[in-house]
Symmetry: C2
Subunit: 225 residues, 2 copies
DNA sequence: CATCGGCATTTTGCAGACAGTAGCCAGCAG
DNA sequence: CTGCTGGCTACTGTCTGCAAAATGCCGATG
């Protein structure tokens, strides 16, 4: 009897490696976002396959997905290239992000429960601690989790999925500047939570819009220096 | 210097069959949107491959793309199933569409040229003619082109791409009802054009929001009958 | 010296083959 | 009759092999 003392939970589904293509996908995405693969670089299937220790097929499927999500450009009969973000595209992407996040804030304000608000406050506090400790990586991570939680409270799965993709790309483009503005960001978060708690949809939406627009402004200011 | 007098665009690039996976993708998408493949149906790779006269590989890649775009659900080690839209999801999708279209209308109002507005009026007139002729298919097609043109005038490629995906899925969900309301729709289009021409961003945005919301209302009314 | 044509290499696109696994049915013990 | 177990089937996931297309280079030529 092997199946005797399994203490409940903790073993949801017996850790399976999952489809290879997904792991390849995540590996490549990691390499791209960390700039290990630079924009414009030519990605050779067999090269990646050899480097990751798999065949070309999973690599192909991962590249297909990265292509539809806008991370790589797949030119027919020529191969995959890491997407090169232009100024214009970055700006447009930020516009869309502002739109999606503002709507999420509005929806969250419309029907957030006290439990969700408590979580937001907790995340916010944790983020501020990270900033105080000068732990930039942790602060960035907490920022992402905060926005994701707001999105979750909005209760719109479609919106959440789109925002997740857009957000990730925005973060890719704006990482340098995003790492800069740590403190003021969390003050704005606090105000946003207050608006959500007050069920003030309009104010929550405007605050979030302003909040994300600050990123754009920081970027353009940085550009001058 | 050969590349001298090429009057920009207009060169069809010598129609080539294009990658097989793309054609498979479009074929499958057509089959799904036309309900030839019903929601929940199990798609067997070898079956599709045989039916289309190609190998499994292009089919797999097409399914991957359809999966990331939300048309099919790809359950590991079990295969692909046509996505089954739920009431909740359809509603959420419509919310997002409203959001994107309204923003597009605002942006279009912000910087549309007279040339673009002329095209809109032309499309509108053509749509009305189709309605008068009771040509429902043409009217639906013109409606899609009209919205696409507004999106183009917005000048935001990222927004346009997202909206294109969302719009197509919305049309899939709401085809029965969408075919109904033909005439009033074009009156609203006219008002929208007026607002864009007047550079009235707020009014354009609100009109578009109202316009797309009508679809939701029509759907819920239909539900009762 | 510049340019054009052809060749070789590289890389993708596609097809077929093999292994692993989930689901199902029959058979059997209780 | 019911519940379990074993094997079977069909499908997916992955790997390898082959042919076509594009690129870049090199030599030939005006």
């Amino acid at each position: 009897m092997l199946s005797q003392g399994l203490p409940q939970g903790a073993v949801p589904k017996l850790e399976r490696p999952g489809p290879l293509r997904d792991r390849v996908y995540e590996a490549l995405l990691e390499l791209i976002t960390t700039r290990a693969l630079q924009p414009g670089q030519h990605l050779v299937e067999s090269e990646l396959a050899g480097h990751l220790g798999v065949s070309r097929q999973p690599v192909r499927e991962a590249l297909q997905r990265l292509n539809t999500e806008g991370w790589v450009d797949l030119r027919p009969a020529q191969g995959a290239f890491v997407h090169e973000p232009t100024e214009e595209e970055a700006d447009q992407l930020l516009t869309v992000r502002t739109l999606l996040e503002a709507e999420a804030a509005r929806l969250a304000a419309a029907d957030a429960g006290s439990a969700g608000i408590a979580v937001l406050r907790e995340l916010c506090a944790e983020g501020e601690r990270a900033v105080d400790a000068d732990d930039v990586d942790a602060a960035v991570a907490m920022n992402a989790r905060f926005h994701a939680k707001v999105m979750e409270l909005a209760g719109n799965a479609v919106l959440a999925e789109l925002a997740a993709q857009v957000d990730r790309r925005v973060r890719w483009y704006y990482t340098p500047v995003a790492r800069q503005r740590g403190l003021t960001s969390w003050i704005e978060h606090r105000h946003l939570i207050d608006a959500i708690e007050a069920r003030d949809e309009l104010r929550a939406s405007l605050l979030m819009r302003e909040h994300t627009e600050h990123t754009r402004r920081s970027y353009h200011e940085r550009e001058k220096s």
